[in-house]
Each structure stands twice: as C-alpha cells, then as structure tokens.
C-alpha cells in the first residue's frame, strides 16, 4: 500500500474519530468529567491523525518525485568505498528554517505578520523532504565512522546523537532545578497538614498549591499520568524490539501464538513494533492534553500565569513537544518499514533514534515522581 493511500486513510480516520467523539460527547453525561475527556481526546487524536496523514501524503509525493527506492542509491558493495559518505545538507536547511520560524513567530505574535514565519515553515519542510529523500535510499553501507580520540571507531551519527542528548540533559536539568528551587522556596508549607481544596483543615494564607496536589486529588485525576508512564515504558520496549528484529540475520518466526501473530515475518515484525510505538506515543499526547484540560478548566483551575503553573506546563510541555517530534520520526520509520526498507545494514538508524526516544522516557522518570506524585 502506498504512503499516499495510507495518508489519506489516516486523515479519514481522524475525521471519523472526531465525529465519533463529538457525537459521544453530545449523548454521554458522566461524573468525573469523562464526557469532556472524550471531547478533548477526540479533538487531539483527530489533529494527530490529520498531521500523520498529511506527512504520509508528503512522504508518498517525495518518494514518487525523487525515486529513492532501495538499491537505487548506487552504494553497492562494489563501489561504496569510492563514494565516501557525502554528508547531508538537510540538518542545516532545517536549522535555518527553524531559526526563521522562531524569528517570524515573534513578528507574527506582535505585528500579525505571517511572512517570515511562513518562509521558515517552507524551508523547514524542504529540509525534512530532502532528509526523507536521502534516507529512503540509505542502505547503511556508507555509515561514517569517527577517527581519532576519544571517539575513534564509533559511528559518527551515534556520537552526534549522544552529544545532542547531553544538551537535552542540560535543558531538562534547568527545568527540573527551577522547579526544585521554586518548590524548596515553598518548603515552609510542606509541614502544614491541610487540604487545599476546602474539604478539611483550611490552608494558611500564601499556601502554594502545586500540580501534584491537583493530580493526586483522586484516582481519576492521576489515571492519565499513570497510564502515560506505563505507555512510555512499553513504547521504549516496542522500539527496542523493532531494532532487535531489524538486526537479526537469521530471523525466525517467534514460537508463541500471540508473538507469532504479531510478528509473522521480519518486515511486519519491524513495522508492527514501530507502529505500536507510534500508537503509544500518540496516546501519551492525547492523555496529556486531556489532563491539561482538566487542570486548566476543572473545579480548581491551575493556570500557567502562576509560578507553580508555569514551571509545570513549561516542563511537561517541553517533554510533550519532544514526544511529538519523536512521533514524526516514528511515522517516517513506519512508512519505511511498510515498504520493507529496514535491513541489518541500515537498522542503526532505528538505534540512534531509539536513543532519543529512550531519553524522552528517561526524562519522564524524573518528571513523573516530582511533578505528579509528590
């Protein structure tokens, strides 16, 4: 099935999900705000499916326009040493586009001028399209290696990914330390046994309600965060399973009934696990926005215009944005898997992306207890 057909299918599915959720919202009235959660969840799921579908159509168009089928890249065994890896212009194109986009965002926000922002978006998408074109034909036989110390003999892309993750640790480290600093500033209230929501001993003046108090208010309010934690762990597992199956030279169908059904051949073993990762990541975002909606518009509004609110929404929002970027890459990987594009030779791309995805999981290991549980 072509990427264009899958893309159109995803958009139609998005419209169906939206119509169903809005219909259910009109007829179902429950306690715990479940009807409202269906309403918000349907809108978010529809938005994600439309984005995925649009990308699917773009992948199909790029692939049709540039060829890029496997084996067409002329990096065969006989001559790939002569064709030393040519690097890629895509990252610098995308970085330039993102820079213009961010500059244009300020302009658009203050002046309503869309020009620079639009140009930035176009250049970013051009970079992404060029990256797809290059990677669709990547057979992995020209993987550049590092020379010299201290990374000699290690793949350049792996080193690059780890350097990138170092910067990510610092970004999340600064969010996390800001939160801890603010919260230790409120420590004087930690010894106070009171109920911020007026059911028991009233809290003293100046008491700062933090996100975890709202989230821990009941089983139903903690549920989205708890499900998300399990979903991220499971998504890390499905991604590493996709990598394991992609790297197998002598692939054999799993013996178990369920695993055999899930992974009937190597191509579908890789594809199904990538799609499962994509699904779990999408579910994470849907539940995250349901949770945000409840916190912002619930009985005790927790808004971004307070210190406690801004540090919570900025940190969890930055994490959610990382999940979203990961989903876009996963979507491309899934389309490539659908076409049988992964092999033992080029599976390292899944490994390097996996480092990013597992890092997102790792960041959640710190965020979940700090912002949700305590």
């Amino acid at each position: 099935m072509s990427a264009i057909a899958i893309g159109v299918g995803l958009i139609l599915l998005g419209v169906f999900v939206l119509a169903t959720s809005q219909g259910m919202h009109a007829f179902i009235h429950t306690t715990h705000g479940l009807d409202h959660a269906i309403y918000i969840g349907g809108m978010v799921a529809c938005a994600l499916l439309v984005i995925f579908g649009t990308i699917g159509i773009l992948v199909g168009l790029v692939n049709t326009s540039f060829g890029g089928g496997y084996g067409e890249d002329d990096h065969g065994d006989d001559g790939h040493d002569e064709h030393a890896h040519h690097g890629s212009w895509s990252p610098i194109i995308m970085a330039f586009g993102v820079m213009l986009f961010l500059m244009g965002f300020i302009e658009w926000n203050h002046e309503g001028n869309f020009g620079i922002l639009g140009l930035g978006l176009v250049i970013t998408f051009a970079g992404i399209a060029n990256w797809w074109r290059e990677d669709f034909g990547n057979d992995g036989k020209s993987e550049p290696m590092s020379y010299g110390e201290p990374f000699g003999g290690i793949e350049v892309r792996k080193v690059g990914m780890w350097i990138f993750l170092m910067s990510e640790v610092m970004i999340f480290g600064s969010f996390f330390s800001s939160y801890l600093r603010l919260r230790t500033g409120w420590t004087t209230h930690w010894d106070v046994k009171c109920d911020a929501f007026g059911h028991g001993t009233p809290c003293p003046d100046g008491y700062v309600v933090v996100a975890s108090e709202l989230i821990n208010e009941s089983f139903w309010t903690l549920l989205p965060g708890a499900i998300n934690t399990f979903a991220l762990i499971l998504s890390s597992f499905t991604l590493v399973t996709a990598l394991r199956h992609a790297k197998m030279f002598d692939w054999q169908k799993p013996m178990g009934k369920l695993t055999g059904w899930w992974m009937p051949d190597q191509r579908r073993a890789i594809r199904n696990n990538l799609v499962a990762t994509l699904f779990l990541g999408s579910m994470f975002l849907v539940l995250k926005l349901i949770e945000w909606d409840h916190m912002m518009n619930g009985a005790h509004p927790f808004t971004i215009d307070t210190l406690a609110g801004s540090v919570f929404y900025v940190t969890t929002g930055a994490h959610g944005f990382h999940v979203f970027v990961g989903l876009l890459v996963l979507l491309f990987f899934s389309f490539k898997a659908q076409r049988g594009g992964w092999s033992q030779d080029n599976a390292q791309s899944i490994e390097y992306f996996g480092l990013y995805w597992h890092f997102v999981d790792l960041a959640w290991v710190a965020i979940f207890p700090a912002f949700y549980l305590y």
């Binding site: 170092m166 590493v240 305590y374």
Partner: protein, 120 residues
C-alpha cells in the same frame, strides 16, 4: 545487546524472561507500580522521598543500560552520557545554597569553622 556482551549476572536475570529487554520491561513496570503505591501509602516525607529517588535510580539504570545499550557500548559513550549530570548536580547544589532555609539552617557538618567569622 547481544549475549556475548552481557555479564553473567545479566544473563542470569534475562534467562527466565527470554532476553534482557523482556526482563527490563518487567523491572520497569514493577518499579513504577511501587512508585505509585509508595505515594498512596502515606509514608512520612523522607521515606517517600527515599522510595521515589531509589525507584528513579533503578528505572534510569534499566533504561540507560539496556534500552540505550550503554552496557554494550564503549565506555567513552557512558562517560559522555554522565558528563552533563555534573552540571545538574551543580544546579542542585545551587538550590541548596539559595533556598530560604539554606543559610541559617545548614547542618553543622556543612559549616565547620574553616574561616573565622567576620567580627570574631
């Protein structure tokens, strides 16, 4: 992570689960249940912190060591991964020094009389 890269203790852990990734999934799920349970058990503050930090360290190890393949990668990659945590530690240290109780109520082992106080 292939079997020849695993230590004996890892192989012993992985054996009942088929491979190390299955074991890691079970480990992470179990510790997440413990994490959520600890908060609802209404333990004293420091006990709750101890459980949450302990569980966080185990989960972070599981993800970094096996899912991110640090156990099978060259040591320089692990060193690279650990490096930014010095900055995180520095920021946490800064929090300790700047919180309202950080100056007056520092424990005695933090304030030995290395330098005579002004006016002393």
């Amino acid at each position: 992570m292939s079997e020849h890269q695993m230590a004996k203790w890892e192989m012993a852990l992985a054996k009942p689960f088929g491979n190390i990734y299955n074991f890691n999934l079970a480990l992470l799920m179990l510790f997440t249940v413990i994490e959520v349970g600890a908060v609802y058990m209404d333990l004293p503050r420091y006990e709750t912190w101890a459980v949450l930090i302990g569980v966080g360290i185990v989960k972070a190890f599981g993800i970094a060591a096996w899912f991110m393949h640090l156990r099978g990668d060259p040591v320089i990659i692990t060193r690279t991964a650990i490096f930014p945590f010095f900055f995180v530690a520095l920021m946490l240290w800064g929090i300790g020094l700047t919180n309202p109780a950080g100056v007056e109520n520092l424990p005695s082992w933090c304030t030995p009389p290395w330098v005579p106080a002004y006016g002393a």
